[in-house]
Amino acid sequence: MVPVVDVRGLTKTYDLDGQLVHALAGIDLTISQGEFVAVMGASGSGKSTFMNVVGMLDTPSTGTYLFEGTDASDLDADQRADIRSRRLGFVFQSYNLLPRTSAIENAELPMVYAGVPEADRRRIALEKLAVVGVEQLADHRSNQMSGGQQQRVAIARALVNDPGLILADEPTGALDSKTSVDVMNLFTKLNAERGITILLVTHEPDVAAFAKRIVTFRDGLVVSDHLKSVAA
């Protein structure tokens, strides 16, 4: 079976006023279908850059990135946008819901860009809001919801196109500890019950502990990669 993410010798170099910054210095990583991976590391370790490349928001300097068998370097900006709308789901630290817009309209947005017919959009969005447990908030606007509720709507939005991979960037960074646990339990449940592949980026060990595999970055390199033992 083709891995969801297959990264070989990935580097990313930025030119900051003539000074070259090696954000990624040669990453090799494979993520298979159904995995729940946490990428850990201090700020500046390259984990956000890695997430941007995997999320097709950025392109590598050298190395190869195969997403579901497709080489990202063969894709132009529009094709990357199409993969983002059809095969990837994003969950952000600050939720990033459209302001003054209802939960269901927010959840429908990726389907708008993926060209899903209007008649199906509402049904699918309601279905996914139910999966994350906020279907009763469908007509609430984003500013009428708590942080935990907004993040659940954002997760529903990431699910609507049945993505091959969900990318969660510090999804609990703006939540209190109890709500954080609820949201992480939701990710665990989505992974366990629906087999959804999840790539989580965090710097908090407590949050990373929910994942089944923890990869640690330092200075643009993978320094540790281990499966969590079931006993722990």
Binding site: N52, L57, D78, L98, V112, G115
Partner: protein, 405 residues
């Protein structure tokens, strides 16, 4: 991404930011309203001048005696006494001439009962009402037998009626004394209002030209011949025919100058309407400038909006919006704003035109083509001034945009 989908996205974004959308439209609303009101006033003025000239009869030619030179001083047109009623008869036989009325004009004091009024007595033929397109209000007009017998009958203009019969007496059958001669009133003329030159055309007493010549002036010549061409298109040809006929009758051989002149009111009408057109163009360009200023307003606010919505744009891109989709969404927003602003501006402009017409009592006329042009122009303003901000939005990097605070 379908057009309908893009349109729905744009409308959604505009509705989410209602007050900003309204403020953005304000410039276009005011610009278009200004275009509508100024064009309506300009066209109204031109139409009213044209109507006044048309009220004189669009087929009308006026033959006047030429100037005379006496002791080195030249009089103006009409100074010479060279036109006779016989000239009028001859002109009437020309093909292309529908009717001719000799005209004798005298300033005189008219008296009726205890009232008196200084007015213009106009001696004319029965064809006068036809030549001048001047309908009767009551009674009858002069007849051919009135001309033959130099009858003492008169037809009054409405201003004269109002001043000689202020108590509302029916003037028909009453006697009006003009220069000591009693005339019986047989009819009244409908009100024509002011002429193109601002004269009160209703301030006149119309009598047979024979009566005016024999009983009042005692002269054998007339002041003018009013000629009606059978067709407005014929006017220049008829003008040439009259000129050569009268040159023959008056035995004028070039290079001797003509002792008469033939004027045609179409020239006057053309001059007046070209003045109106200049005014219209002037007003419309001022209004167009304000519309362009409105467009720049849209661009400014769209640019601010792109910066303000940077995160939203980054999010939309992360969720799979292509650059082209973002560009079309912002462009659609700009066009919707400017078109809706244009339509609101038309509505306000039409309202404003009625207010101007009612308060200033100016004639106004809203040309449909102007309305369409204003809306189309404002849509174009939206495309032109919306493109740059839309381009800017679509070229944002999603990573930078998402990180933007």
């Amino acid at each position: 991404m379908t057009f309908k989908g893009t349109f729905a996205l744009a409308i959604g974004a505009l509705i989410r930011n209602r007050s900003r959308s309204l403020l953005t439209m304000l410039g276009v609303i005011i610009g278009v309203a200004a275009v509508i009101v100024t064009v309506a006033i300009g066209v109204g003025a031109r139409v009213s001048v044209q109507n006044q000239i048309a009220s004189l009869g669009s087929n009308l030619l006026i033959v006047q005696p030429g100037s005379v030179t006496a002791g080195g001083a030249r009089s103006g047109f009409g100074g010479a006494s060279t036109l006779t009623p016989d000239d009028g008869m001859a002109v009437a036989t020309l093909p292309g001439v529908a009717a001719v009325s000799p005209t004798v004009t005298i300033r005189s004091q008219a008296v009726a009962g205890t009232q008196n009024w200084s007015t213009t007595v106009t001696g004319v033929a029965p064809t006068y009402t036809f030549v001048r397109s001047w309908p009767l209000a009551s009674g009858t007009f002069l007849s051919q037998s009135d001309i033959t017998s130099a009858a003492k009958v008169a037809v009054l203009g409405q201003t004269v009626v109002a001043n000689l019969f202020p108590d509302g007496t029916d003037p028909l059958g009453q006697t009006v004394i003009v220069s000591g001669v009693p005339f019986t009133v047989v009819g009244t003329l409908a009100s024509l209002g002011q002429s193109g030159q601002g004269q009160d055309q209703d301030d006149t007493i119309v009598v047979p030209y024979t009566s005016a010549m024999q009983r009042i002036t005692g002269q054998k010549t007339v002041n003018a011949l009013d000629v009606s061409a059978s067709d407005a298109d014929n006017v220049p040809a008829v003008q040439d025919e009259i000129t050569s006929l009268l040159e023959g009758r008056h035995r004028i051989v070039p290079p001797t100058p003509d002792d008469f002149s033939v004027r045609n009111l179409q020239d006057v009408a053309a001059a007046a309407s070209s003045t109106g057109t200049v005014m219209e163009v002037l007003l419309a360009s001022v209004a167009a400038v304000s519309l362009i200023v409105g467009g720049i307003g849209i661009m400014n606010i769209m640019l601010v909006s792109v910066t303000e919505r940077t995160r939203e744009i980054g999010l939309r891109m992360a969720l799979g919006a292509r650059g082209g989709t973002i560009l079309r969404q912002f462009l659609t927003e700009a066009v919707v704003l400017s078109t809706v602003g244009g339509i609101l501006g038309v509505i306000i402009g039409i309202g404003g035109t009625y207010v101007v017409a009612a308060l200033a009592k100016w004639p106004t006329s809203i040309p449909l083509s102007g309305v369409f042009a204003a809306v189309a122009f404002s849509a174009m303003v939206g495309i032109f001034f919306g493109y740059y901000p839309a381009r800017k939005a679509s070229s944002l990097s999603p990573i930078e945009a998402l990180r933007f605070e």
